[in-house]
Amino acid sequence: MTEMTLVEAINQALMYEMQADASIVVMGEDIGKNGGVFRATVGLLERFGIERVRDTPLSENMIGGLAVGMAMAGLKPVAEFQFMGFMYPAMNQIINHAARMRNRTRGKLHCPLVIRAPYGCGIHAPEHHSESTESLFAHIPGLRVVIPSTPARAYGLLLAAMRDPDPVIFLEPARLYRWAKQAVPDDGVALPLDKCFILRQGTDVTLVSWGSLMRETLAVADTLAANGIAAEVIDVATLKPLDLPTILASVAKTGRCVIIHEAPFSGGIGADISAAIAEQGLLSLQAPVQRVTGYDTIVPYAKLEKYYLPDETRIMAAVERVMA
């Protein structure tokens, strides 16, 4: 079985599902001949042709609108946005139409579309190439928001997103695109879209994260294990809807929780999780929940971005605080 990177797994999922489902149309800027700026769509044009692999004019609002229309008219558009920081022009179509069309028409029309975009900092790219604004979408009823953190989960979750009858915002951690390889069988098996993944069982503390910071979170769990502390590690993966029961059950067991995300603190999804733990699990908590997040500021340009991103030191310090 071939080992592959996260971005290769994305590609494999697109290939698989385009083959399986003729209604899928992949589109975006530079996704055709160029294979996408991160090479996620490499080979699709050659295999499926220009009707189904469509380079678009340079307009994100238009891409959003096209996707909404195509979805309503019987196709399954999978639109790539080059970076999450360039999704904002499409917010109107996403919020005011994609998320609402099923409800508006009481089910007569719906918007089975997938919007893919790399997100997150740490790749030394120019300004606006480093956003983690998943909160903006996770607040919108009618959407699903999904963030994979490994090649295998990227494959299974993207398949699920493409098979879901409702709009899915699928955010890919650019920093992990080529980080580690993993065997990803091309078996067409989708993963559930509203379940957290328990990556490690543990009894002492629950570490909750998603996307790019799963890497540091797992590293911290390793260090803790070496020190005899068994951390339970949860990859939230689907941010909307949020699978709180899995998280709550874990914290009920461990009594301690650290939430780690890259997005700014204020309005981050960490707040939803921390609030739910406190409101529903108050009695089982042995220490206040700790959140380790991006700062409430703008991700710096390449030279300083490493100071923005939560690292193992900051996560470990938080673990120490909940264990104290």
């Binding site: 149309v25 009707e51 189904r52 678009t56 004019p57 307009s59 609002n61 238009m62 959003g64 609108g65 096209l66 996707a67 909404v68 229309g69 195509m70 979805a71 309503m72 008219a73 019987g74 196709l75 558009p77 109107n92 179509q93 005011n96 139409h97 069309m101 099923r102 409800n103 508006r104 028409t105 009481r106 089910g107 007569k108 029309l109 719906h110 009823p141 009618g142 879901d164 009858p165 409702d166 509203d194 809807p241 949020l242 699978d243 709180l244 029961p245």
Partner: protein, 360 residues
């Protein structure tokens, strides 16, 4: 310096303000039965419109945008559309929807504040109203793209107002329609106002039609008070969309003979006398005059047509007013194909509160 490109904007009018036919008028000008059907539809449209405004004034309907004076635009389009075409309206297109199969009662239900007023929505025929100005133009391009990819040979007709042409959406939709050769017809209902902003304050472009030049698509200006010109030019554009997979933008010149909506008071911004002057061009009388001069529309027929329109409208009103309220839980029933477990508790709470309310 040399000239590398040249463009002209044509203006089509087949029946002028004095109800005199133009030399280049299409065959429709002689098709009495067809013209009487158009007349009838305009009468129904105006009758429904008057009624809707009255319902709103008595608290039986929500905010409502009148179509008064714009009947030729909506009816001409509705007539040109075939059953196989797809229509994507903005919020003011009630007449076109009715001609394209939507019951008047649904239209009232929508303006009464009930999502079930959108139940006509159908990917193969009519799409629901769009409230965010201009946004429908982009998903219309998506619908046209899907139909092109799926080789359905359907034409898509999408509408917007003059104000909407200032949105980037309008341009982006035309641009992709041009480069992807989409079977898409854009109709701009230029009723000269976007709430209080006159057409002349939206753009320095001499015509709105010429905005299509920016996208390399065909563009025309049409007398939107001349239902014959509207019908004919929309029909031609739809045919080109079906046959050649090309897009057209048509600017219909008319005048909003009413406040923007029932929540508006045009008295604040409309110069006195303009509306009355523009009324000389209004479409229903113009066609009526022509048909009368032709001797094909008698006073008795007009009475019959008016009475029939009243009947149609009254039936719709009765049906609308008889609609039983939707369930509060409907707000969750169609949020997703299947409500995620995460929202089950909210659903249950809403249901419980409401059952108390009903029982208590």
């Amino acid at each position: 310096m040399k000239i590398v490109a040249n463009y002209e904007i044509p203006f089509y009018q087949y029946l002028d303000e004095q109800s005199i036919p133009a030399a280049d008028a299409p065959a429709l000008m002689q098709d009495t039965n067809h013209l009487i059907r158009l007349y009838q539809q305009m009468v129904i449209s105006r009758t429904l419109d008057n009624k809707a405004v009255a319902l709103q004034r008595t608290g039986k309907l929500g905010t409502y945008p009148s179509t008064r004076g714009q009947e030729a635009v909506f009816v001409g389009m509705g007539d040109a559309l075939t059953d196989a075409d797809i229509f994507i309206p903005y919020y003011r297109d009630t007449a076109t929807l009715m001609q394209h199969g939507v019951p008047a009662a649904d239209i009232l239900l929508f303006w009464g504040g009930d999502e079930r007023g959108n139940l006509f929505a159908d990917a193969d025929k009519n799409y629901p109203y769009s409230v965010p100005i201009g946004s429908q133009l982009l998903y219309a391009a998506g619908v046209a793209t899907a139909n092109k990819i799926r080789k359905t040979n359907k034409a898509v007709l999408v509408t917007c107002g003059d104000g909407a042409t200032s949105q980037g959406d309008f341009y982006e939709a035309m641009n992709v329609a041009g480069i992807w050769q989409l079977p898409l017809v854009f109709v701009v209902n230029n009723n000269q106002w976007a709430i209080s902003i006159p057409r002349t304050a939206q753009s320095a472009a001499q015509t709105l039609a010429q905005k299509g030049i920016a996208a390399g698509i065909a563009c025309e200006q049409v007398d939107g008070n001349d239902v014959i010109a509207v019908q004919a030019r929309v029909a031609v554009a739809l045919q080109k969309a079906r046959d050649n997979q090309t897009a057209t933008v048509l600017e219909m010149l008319c005048y909003r003979q009413a406040d923007h909506t029932t929540a508006d008071d045009a008295g604040r911004y409309e110069t006195a006398g303009v509306r009355e002057k523009e009324w000389q061009k209004e479409p229903v009388g113009r066609l009526q005059n022509y048909l009368e001069k032709q001797g094909v529309l008698m006073p008795e027929t007009i009475s019959v047509i008016n009475a029939a329109a009243v009947t149609v409208v009254e039936e719709a009103v009765t049906e609308y007013l008889a609609a039983t309220p939707d369930q509060p839980t409907a707000m969750f029933d169609h949020l997703y194909a299947k409500l995620p477990a995460a929202y089950a508790a909210q659903y249950a709470e809403l249901k419980m509160i409401n059952s108390f309310a009903r029982n208590g």
